[in-house]
């Protein structure tokens, strides 16, 4: 008809059907926005309850007497705590004396992205325990610490910056003392690194952490 490469004339029906489709998709997007707004509160509450559950798992009821959430404050330490956003620290007191500090750092080099941790450190620098709050690791492989190897996180209890010495604060594969789990090395390596860095942060900032007595 015309030159071989000329575009076909668009019929009116073509325009109306495409406009109708765009309108329908826009409407659907509005539904999504509405759902996102409505669920925002609940999702935030779920995350908070996850933190509370983690704190309770790490610090048994009688070991402290302050309100952990109320006394919490934030610090920014991108090198040691894994993010340049504020990281929450929960100091724990009993009878007016500092007992422990729980830090909520990030392990930035997980296999699929950052892993959010809760690291509980006793006043003298020994690890009380580690919990994983949020992660995106591969189900079945990187998330072994949740189901398959549920005892793996217990290995951290009692450790400190001297135990093991600094060179051995990594996974066995890199010459360290910590086991990895079958099928995943990057995830345990990232968690071990983040825990050690949290210990270093605590050591450097202990006085600062317990300076403000939040009563």
């Amino acid at each position: 008809m015309d030159t071989p490469n000329a575009p076909e004339p668009r019929s009116k029906r073509h325009w109306t059907s495409n406009s109708a489709l765009l309108a329908a998709l826009a409407a659907l997007t509005l539904v999504l926005v509405w759902v996102a707004q409505t669920t925002q509160e609940r999702i935030a509450a779920n995350q908070r309850s996850g933190i509370t559950a983690g704190l309770n798992a790490l610090m048994p009821k009688g070991s402290y007497d302050n309100d952990l959430l109320a006394d919490a404050f934030t610090v920014i330490a991108p090198d040691l705590l894994g993010t340049d956003r504020p990281v929450t620290v929960y100091p724990a007191w009993r009878d007016g004396k500092p007992v422990a500090a729980i830090i909520r750092p990030i392990a930035p080099d997980g296999y699929r992205g950052p892993i959010e941790l809760l690291v509980a450190i006793a006043y003298d620098g020994t690890l009380i325990g580690v919990q994983v709050l949020q992660h995106d690791e591969t189900p079945g492989l990187g998330d072994a610490f949740e189901k398959r190897e549920a005892g793996w996180l217990d290995d951290f209890t009692g450790r400190s910056l001297q135990n093991p010495p600094q060179q051995r604060w990594t996974v066995r594969r890199d010459g360290g003392d910590f086991d990895a789990f079958t099928g995943a090395t990057i995830t345990p390596r990232a968690i071990v690194k983040a825990v050690r860095r949290s210990l270093e942060f605590y050591q450097a900032n202990r006085d600062r952490i317990f300076a403000a007595k939040g009563n």
């Binding site: 059907s17 329908a24 998709l25 999504l32 999702i43 779920n46 591969t138 189900p139 189901k147």
Partner: protein
């Protein structure tokens, strides 16, 4: 290219491509609650998005069928994902990245559908396929969990709420089951075995039918 749905467009047969599209879901079928949750999410996404596409069928030209399908599926998946994070956040954490990835799985199903337009035929085909996939996932979940950790419905109360704890059974007590069954490669082995079983039954059945003629 976008609207020729038969085998001639691809070097790999269509059925194989559809199976590959559903493969990522295998990673999350290691326990029964995970498998059930994935199956339900898949069915939900397919049902909602194919219904939407059916409603909009008369506005979708052949040229833009794939783009429209992807957009609708992405929107529906986002809605499902947010709802899961709000009301079922434990299982949402358990399934990890595979909830958003449902977009890919389902979009491929639409891409390789034999329906000529986004209408009723597409809806029926997508639903049938996802029902089959859901059933396969649940069977896989049962098999893998039994072999891998000797239990059924492990952590069901986590996933579905406290009422589901009645379902948590330990069939046999093993310290560390057949680990391979719990790992993603084990899922592929299991699928292979399932397919072999299906073929065996199917062939025996058609042989018997032929012999009976």
């Amino acid at each position: 290219m976008l609207d020729a749905p038969d085998n001639s467009t691809t070097a790999v047969p269509r059925d194989t491509l559809l199976m590959l599209a559903l493969c990522p879901l295998l990673a999350v079928s290691d326990t029964v609650p995970n498998a059930i949750a994935t199956a339900i999410s898949l069915l939900l996404v397919v049902a909602l998005s194919s219904s939407m596409l059916w409603l909009l069928a008369r506005f979708i030209d052949r040229d833009i069928r794939w783009a429209a399908g992807m957009l609708v599926t992405a929107l529906v998946t986002a809605i499902v994902e947010r709802s899961m994070s709000a009301w079922f956040h434990e299982i949402r954490q358990s399934l990890g990245v595979f909830v958003p990835l449902l977009v890919c799985n389902v979009a491929i199903v639409y891409r390789f559908s034999t329906a000529r337009s986004a209408g009723m035929r597409l809806l029926r085909e997508a639903l049938a396929l996802s029902l089959a996939a859901a059933a396969a996932l649940v069977i896989l979940g049962i098999a893998r969990e039994l072999v891998g950790r000797g239990s059924l419905f492990h952590d069901a109360s986590h996933a579905f709420g406290a009422w589901a704890s009645f379902a948590e059974t330990v069939v046999f007590d093993v310290d560390m089951g057949f680990l391979l069954a719990m790992l993603p490669p084990g899922a592929f082995f299991a699928v292979g075995l399932l397919l072999a079983l299906y073929n065996a039954v199917h062939n025996a059945h058609s042989q018997r039918r032929e012999a009976g003629r």
